[in-house]
Amino acid sequence: MDIYRAHVLVCGGTGCSSSGSATLIERFEQKIAENGLEKEVKVIRTGCFGLCEAGPVVIVYPDGTFYSRVKPENVDEIVTEHLLKGRKVEHLVYTDHATKEQNAEKALEDINFYKHQMRIALRNCGVIDPENIDEYLAMDGYRALEKALTSMTREEVIDEVLKSGLRGRGGAGFPTGKKWQFAYNSVSDQKFVACNADEGDPGAFMDRSILEGDPHAVIEAMAIAGYAIGASIGYIYVRAEYPIAVKRLQVAIGQAEEYGLLGDNILGTGFNFHLYIRLGAGAFVCGEETALMHSIEGKRGEPTTRPPFPAVKGLFEKPTMLNNVETYANIAQIILKGADWYSSIGTEKSKGTKVFALGGKINNTGLVEVPMGTTLRTVIYEVGGGCPNGKKFKAVQTGGPSGGCLPESLLDTPVDYDNLIAAGSMMGSGGMIVMDEDNCMVDIARFYLEFIVDESCGKCTPCRVGTKRMLEILNRIVEGKGEEGDIEKLEELATTIKSTALCGLGQTAPNPVLSTLRFFRDEYEAHIKEKRCPAHHCQKLLQYVITDKCRGCTACARVCPAGAITGEVKQQHVIDPKKCLKCGACMEKCRFGAIIKI
């Protein structure tokens, strides 16, 4: 282990990997060697920094310079200027969208994006090398496990989690300590601990980033949970679609075993805990706890009724304690810093912080962690930087396919489990998708319902048939074939499905429709009665028209694939609606803003 004067941290999360961070790492290593700096400067691949929109992200320490959107050809400049001569490459330094400020002299924490955040679950993401257990150890890693095994009884551990007020981060918000207590109370020759890493909500990637950036945090917490409830075997159920997360988990489990932090007689205390990875095949319903456990057992991933709850009869008919990745990521900190510290953060009934995956029409797409009780407005405008291109905010979708859309009037809602439900949505696993004036709310509802129809396992009729019928109605509406009474029919179906479906997936499936009906009923009515899409989004309900701003440059006519545009040079052109394919190519091409959608 050598000391280096400078560390170059390159994000190796999924977002930055897909924008080419692996090539950057190679190039950095090569250039650093060429300049003879290999003994002075170290390149480290970290987990996600959160600001995926600005990726690939590179941070140079000790100064903490934050470079964004780094291309391979920029590497040479960073090495020869910054690392060799100590001069920052100003033009590559991250610029804040809202303030247009560069962070050149500021610490990372002072950028708007990070200022309102509080990182507990993500504390090591983007800070340590996730494939190096020593770095996790240096950040007080496995100290909580030591503390629990050597100085706390099993009851004391459960009590601490209970007192912290931590609630399940998978979405339902069940008190974690209670879950541990139920599993502890069950008597059996064998118990199991399981981790739900089958993150399936569209647009959500919190769990993925935690596993990629700080896998040991989850492993340590699962071992603590195993000690507390009396389980010697743990399973992590992770989607096969997360190859980087799976690989880092494998590496981390191997290292923990080598150090004696997993396996038999951990730290010489006589406690045994073995951890195994099970890969999910990408079915959304397998994120439901009973379906997930059937899948681990090697059976078809279908839900079954509860009770019996998993804490009584779970995996292989034995008591099982199942928590979400993000829930586990909080445990070690709670044990180390105490329940009082944790419960001082957040609101009365929702303690701690929550990680959100910000996506959609927002400037700072990425991963954020804020204390419970932060308002939606702060998350979207201060952290997220608002909607791009000066568009007007319309709604934010929280909770994935089980959640709902909240309009601008509810932006000052403090984010916690109970407030979001009262507002007509839910916390869910933490996806937050922002929509602007160009998004049609009927189409959004249709999108989520289509997802549910695809992912319904088909076991119970309300979900299998009911959601399909709802989708058919919505498809009709967006095509301009909506009829009087459709809204009422949707509402009736939704209520029935909610009260009769077998599992959480079905029971919450109508939520996107219900919440958009609640806040954007006028858009549904405009589609049905006036055959008009107020957002000019639904193709069948809009027309492209050329206004008198047209200078007759003929650019649109040349780009139109259907030959629908006619007109003389320097004369206003006309679009033939019968021939128009509504591809939008003309609107993109027009330099005068003369083409509009009506």
Partner: protein, 125 residues
């Protein structure tokens, strides 16, 4: 399998290696070496390497080594600034690798600047 003591040793050693990334708390000692053309020509690079060596040998957490440009007194290079938390900056001049262990031991570890190597001593001579 690692014992508790071994884990603690790994923590300490790794922290001294990665503390360069966590320098936000103001309890860090900074060693800043002039590494412009003049500094490098006068032999700043071996000086920096010996600082890094010495810090590693002693497993000093909360010490960072970084570089800076030319401050204009090229004739005094290699120049090294040592800034202890909450203390005034001390500037050493004409630093050679063999002077480094003493600076680390007396100044960084024990808080007593090595007067005879400082810029004040050089200017008065």
């Amino acid at each position: 399998m690692k014992s508790l003591a071994e884990l603690e040793a790994i923590r300490k050693a790794t922290l001294s290696r990665i503390n360069v990334r966590t320098d936000e708390k103001g309890d860090t000692t900074r060693v800043v070496i002039g590494m412009a053309t003049c500094g490098i020509a006068a032999g700043a690079r071996p000086v920096m390497l010996s600082f890094m060596d010495e810090i590693q040998k002693r497993q000093l957490a909360h010490v960072t080594v970084s570089q800076t440009g030319c401050v204009g007194m090229c004739r005094l290079e290699p120049m090294v600034d040592v800034i202890l938390p909450g203390k005034e900056k001390v500037t050493y001049v004409h630093v050679k690798p063999e002077m480094v262990p003493r600076i680390v031991a007396e100044h960084i570890v024990n808080g007593r600047p090595v007067e005879e190597y400082t810029i004040g001593a050089a200017e008065n001579a």
